[in-house]
Symmetry: D2
Subunit: 337 residues, 4 copies
C-alpha cells in the first residue's frame, strides 16, 4: 500500500503514523526524491487497514496496490524513476550502451578493447571475472585478478564497469571494484544473493532469467529493493523457446510492460538474446525502438579466439557502425546515445 | 540443388539437361526474373548427381543446398526477392502497412474504417470474413457477405484487401474477392490448404504458427511455392511462451533470420504478437527497426464493441500517431512507408 | 448450461420448454444415454435466463457451466462417458491399444504387421494413407490405395482401423474405409476440418496439438461435438518444449485433467510423445498408470527402412514384450488390456 | 575420457600413468566401487591423447566420451550406481518415498506428521527450513529453528531428513542437521552453491530447474561430482510450459533418459510437478511406472492452513491410500517400496 502524506502534516502526526505502522509490524520505505512524502507500507493485509489509514491526519491519500511488487511498482515512485550510476543516469532521455567482451581474458586485450569502446561511444564497460558456465570444466573466469583489470580499465578510460557476482560471499569483493554489480540470468531467483546485493550500496544490474515471467522478474527486483537498495537496472536478455534457430528468444514486449508497471529502467542485451552476432544489430535497433533505456552488447577483437560466447560477439568495427545507426534511431525517438 | 546455366548454352544443350532431369523424376523450378538461367532441381539425392551435372555443357555452376527449403532459399533467388501485389511491391525499399479490424462486422463500419485507414497511410486493408475461433459458439465471420464488403471497400478506397481462407473448398471463392489470401497461424501446417493456395494465382500471406520454428515456417512456404505460387509473404505474429503477461511473445529475430536464409519478404503483426493495444506501438516500431518489410495492425473504431480481439485493436487516432512515428524511423533506416 | 428434466415432466411441458429455447436461438443437445432427460442448452447468456428456466415445470435442475466447453463437459454426461467403436468401448474398464506403422507403405508389409499385432493383443490398427509431412518433398502417403490396404487388413485380421484425414474434401472418402478418423496434431485447430468430421458419423481420434492447452483442446473436441458427432477420443501425444533431448514432451497430467473436466476418453501416444523407441515402453507404462484409456504405438518390422518416423517405431518383439508388462500394470489398476 | 586399467598393472605402471596425467593438468576421478580400476581423466583434448594412453602398459581400454558430463556418465560407473543415504540405498530395487510438508511450520505439527508418514511407509522426511519464495514478503522459513525440529523428528521417528540449502554460507549448517541437502529448482545453475555442496560430505538432492534441459541438468550434477561428492540424487519436478492448467509440466521421459545416459538415481516430485493434489496420485504412479527410483510428495494435515504450497499437498489419508497403490505397481515392476 502506498501512502501519500499531507504536505502540511505536523511532525507529531507523522511520528504517530509511523508508530502505528511499526506497532503492527509494517515495513516502511520512503519513495526516493519524494521528500519523505510518499511511502510504501508493507505488511500483511490485516495489519494494513486502508480505511483507518485514510482517516489518519498525516495521510492525504491511500493507494492500494494490486501487484505483489510494491517498491518496484510505479505507484511507489511516480514518473520514470532514474537510477544513478556514478555521473550517469539510467531511465532518462539518454540511452547508455554497456559493451565489452564476455569474459576478462587478459590485461592487454581488455585495455585495448576498452579504449576502442570508449571511442565508439559506449559509457560502461562489461567483462566477466566470475563466469557462470554450464560445465565445471570450462573457463571459470579470472576472479579477483579480472576485477583488478576492470578497475584499471576504468582508470584509464573513464568508463564505468559492470561485472557479475555469483556468490553471496563475493558481494563485498565485487562491490569494491565494480560500479554496477550484475546478477546473471541463472541467479535471477537466487534469493540469498538478491538479499545480499540488497544490502550493498551499489547499483545492481539484474538480468531476466531464461524462464522468468515479467511479474516474477519484478518480484526479484523487489527482493533487492526491500533490502534498501533501490538502484536496480533490469535487463531483457532473451528467454528460452522451442526454436533452436536462436540461442534465446528476445521478449521485447517486456520493455513497455516494465515501463507500464514499474519505474525501474530496463535495458536490452541482444548478444545473449540471439546468440549470434549477425542478429545483434537488428535486435539492438529493435530494442531501442521498443523504448529500452540502454543496451548491453558483447564486443571482442577476435571472436574466434574468445574464451566464451565468441559467436555472439561483434567485431569492434561492426560495433562502431551499429552505434552510428543507433544514434539516428534514438534521435527520431527524442533520445540520445 | 540450384543450377546456374551458362549464358551461351545452346537450346539443344538446355533441352538435353531438362530431359535428363525429367528422366530421373527431378522437379524443375525457374528462378523468377532470371531469364530461365537459374533453376532449382528438386529430387532425391541419388537422382541428383552434382558432379555429373557440373560437367554438363549447359551448366555453369551447381550450388548444393544444405537446407530442406529449396524455392524459399536465398540461393534460388539471389538478392531480396520482391513480391508484387497489384501495383505494390513487398520486399523493397517501401514498407507496407496492412490495417483494419479483426473481423468484417458490418458494411457501414467497415467502409468507415477503410476510409480512415487510407488517410492514415495504410496501403492494404485487413478484415476477416472466415474467422478461426477457439470456440464453435463464437462469431465465425460473415462469410461471403464479408468478402463482398471487403471488395466494396477496395472499390471505394483503392486499398488492396487481405483476408483469411480456412478451407480448401473456399480458396477459389476467397481468391475471387481478395488481393492477398491469408493462411492463419493455426493453419500454418495445414498442408492440404497450403497445397491448394499453391495452385492459386494470388499472393499468399502465410502467418507463422504459435509453435513453428523458423525452419518449419520456411518449409510451409515451400509447400506453397512447390505448387508454382512464388508470391509468398511471411508474417511474424508472436509465438507461444510461458509468460501470461502477453498473449504471445514476438520473436523479432525471425526477421533477420528469414532475410538471411530466404528471399521472401516478412512483415510483423504486433497486434496478435502482444494481444494488447498498449504494446502495439513500441513493438511495431521495433519490428521496423529489426528490418521488417511491412506491418499488420488491428484498428477498430470501438474496440470495446469489437466482435473479436478488441483488446489488441488500436483506436484510429492512435494508429495515425503511430504511422507518423513509423515514418520517421523508416526514414533513418533508408526506407519509406 | 445443463438442464436436468423432471422424470415426470409431461410431453406438453417438454415441448413448451424446447419451444422457448428455440425461440431464443438456443441450441439443444441431449446427453447420450440419458433418455432425453439431460440436455445442454447453448446460446448467449442473455438468452439463457437460469432463474426463469429453473422455475419451468419441465426442469428439475439447472447446472451452470463455468467452462466454455459444454458438450465435452462432465456435467453434460455424468460419469465416464464411453465411446463405442464397432464392438469396442473406450473409456470403460478395458484399455485399448492402437498399433501399426506410421505410414501404410505397401500391401504385403502392412498385412504382415497387422497379423503380428493382432497376436500381440492390439485391437486397433493404425497406418497413415494421407501423411502430414513438414516437407512437400517427403513421402506424402499412398492416398486411397493406402485406405484400401487398411480395409483389407481389417478384413483379414478383424482389427479395426484408424487413419488420418487432412482435407475437408477427403472426409467422406476416409470415412468409407476407416473405423476411426484421425485428426492430426497439426490440424487440432483446423476448424473447417473439425466441423466436417463433426458432421460425419464416425468416431474421431483428435490428437492434441504441439502447443494446445488442455482447455483449447477440449474446445476443439467441442467443435466436433457441436456438429452432432459425440464420438470423440482424445490423445495426448506430447507438446513442444525447450529441450531437444526428446521430440516432444509428454504431458501426462493431461490424462487426469481431461478425466476431471470431461467425460471423453483419452489415450496416450508415447511414440510421437518421445520420438525415440527407447523411451516408448516406460512412457507407455506411465500413461497407463496415469489412467489413460488406451495407447497408440508405432510398430514397424524394419524401422531403419521406414518411410517416416522409423526412429520412434518399436520392433514387433519389443511391442509384444511391452504388451505383457502393460497387462500386469493394468491388472493392479483394476483394468484389462 | 574413461580409462579401464589392467587388472594386473603393476603399482609402478599405475604410478607412471598418474604422473603423466598430472603433468598435463588432467584431473583424475576413480569410479566408486571399481577398486581404483576405472577412472575418469578430465582435461582439455590436447592433454588427452587417446592413442598414446591406449598403449600405456597400465591401460586396458580407453573409452572416449561424447557427452560433456564425465563423472555423471554411465561409462564412469557401469551399471546403475547406487547412492547411499544412511542405511538406505537409492537406485536399486527399492523405491524410496520422501514425504512431508512444504515448510517446517512448527514443532508440534511437524512431529505429528512425521509419525504419520512413518506409519504410511515413507522413509525420508522432507520439510523446508530455508524457503525460496517468489516474494520477499512471504514466509521465508524458520531457519536453524526449522533444522532443529527436523533433527528432532528424525530422532523420534527414525526417518532420515532432507531439507534445502540456498546460500553457500549455510551449507555447513544445513549439513550438520540434514541427511540429504537439497538444491532447489531455482538454484540448479547456481554454480557457486553446486561447488560448495560438491565439497560437502553429504548426499545431495539436486532438483531440475524449470527450464533446464536434461543435458544441462547432468552438467549441474557434474559440478557437484567434480568437487568430489558423488552422492547425487536427481529429481524431475516439472518444467515450465505454455499451459496454465498445471503449475508445471512433468517431463517423465527424463527418467529413462537419465537412466540411459547416467548412473545417477532419479526420483520424481509430482507435487511441484503438477501443483494440485488431485493430479499427484496419477502422476506419482506414472513416475514409478516410468522407472523412477523414488518419489517426493508433499503431505500436510491441514492443506488450507499451510504456509506454502497447500494446494498441492495431499492429506495424510490420501497419502496412505496412494502408498498402497504404489506398492502394487512397484511389485509388478519387480521393485519394492
Amino acid at each position: 500500500m502506498i501512502l501519500h502524506l499531507k504536505r502540511n502534516a505536523s511532525p507529531k502526526e507523522r511520528k504517530d503514523l509511523l508508530r502505528r505502522l511499526a506497532l503492527q509490524g509494517v515495513q516502511v520505505h520512503y519513495s526516493p526524491g519524494s521528500g519523505e512524502r510518499i511511502l510504501a507500507a508493507i505488511g500483511d493485509r490485516k495489519a494494513l487497514d486502508a480505511e483507518a489509514l485514510d482517516k489518519h491526519p498525516a495521510v492525504a491519500r491511500v493507494v492500494p496496490l494490486d501487484t505483489s511488487f510494491k517498491l518496484a511498482n510505479r505507484e511507489f515512485r511516480p514518473g520514470r524513476g532514474e537510477v544513478r550510476v556514478g555521473d550517469l543516469r539510467f531511465g532518462g532521455k539518454r540511452i547508455h550502451v554497456m559493451a565489452g567482451p564476455c569474459s576478462v581474458e587478459n590485461r592487454a586485450d581488455f585495455l585495448a578493447i576498452a579504449r576502442e569502446l570508449r571511442h565508439s561511444g559506449a559509457t560502461i564497460l562489461r567483462g566477466g571475472a566470475f563466469k557462470p558456465r554450464t560445465s565445471p570444466y570450462s573457463f571459470q573466469g579470472l576472479g579477483e585478478e579480472g576485477l583488478r583489470i576492470l578497475a584499471e580499465a576504468r582508470e584509464e578510460t573513464g568508463l564505468l564497469v559492470v561485472t557479475e557476482v555469483m556468490d553471496t560471499r563475493d558481494v563485498e569483493l565485487v562491490c569494491r571494484y565494480a560500479d554496477i554489480v550484475q546478477i546473471g540470468a541463472r541467479n535471477v531467483q537466487n534469493f540469498a544473493l538478491l538479499k545480499e546485493v540488497g544490502r550493498a550500496r551499489k547499483p545492481v544490474l539484474l538480468k531476466r532469467g531464461m524462464m522468468t515471467t515479467v511479474n516474477e522478474y519484478l518480484m526479484s527486483a523487489e527482493y533487492i529493493m526491500s533490502g534498501g537498495n533501490y538502484a536496480v537496472l533490469l535487463c531483457e536478455r532473451g528467454v528460452r523457446s522451442f526454436d533452436p534457430a536462436t540461442r534465446n528468444m528476445m521478449d521485447l514486449a517486456a520493455v513497455p510492460l516494465v515501463h507500464h508497471w514499474s519505474h525501474l529502467p530496463i535495458i536490452v542485451d541482444p548478444s545473449h538474446g540471439t546468440g549470434n552476432w549477425r542478429w545483434v544489430p537488428p535486435l539492438a535497433k529493435a530494442g531501442i525502438a521498443a523504448g529500452a533505456d540502454g543496451l548491453m552488447i558483447e564486443v571482442h577483437a577476435n571472436p574466434d579466439q574468445a574464451y566464451s560466447d565468441g559467436e555472439q560477439s561483434l567485431l569492434p568495427e561492426r560495433f562502431r557502425a551499429l552505434m552510428r545507426d543507433l544514434k539516428k534511431i534514438a534521435s527520431v525517438l527524442g533520445r540520445t546515445i
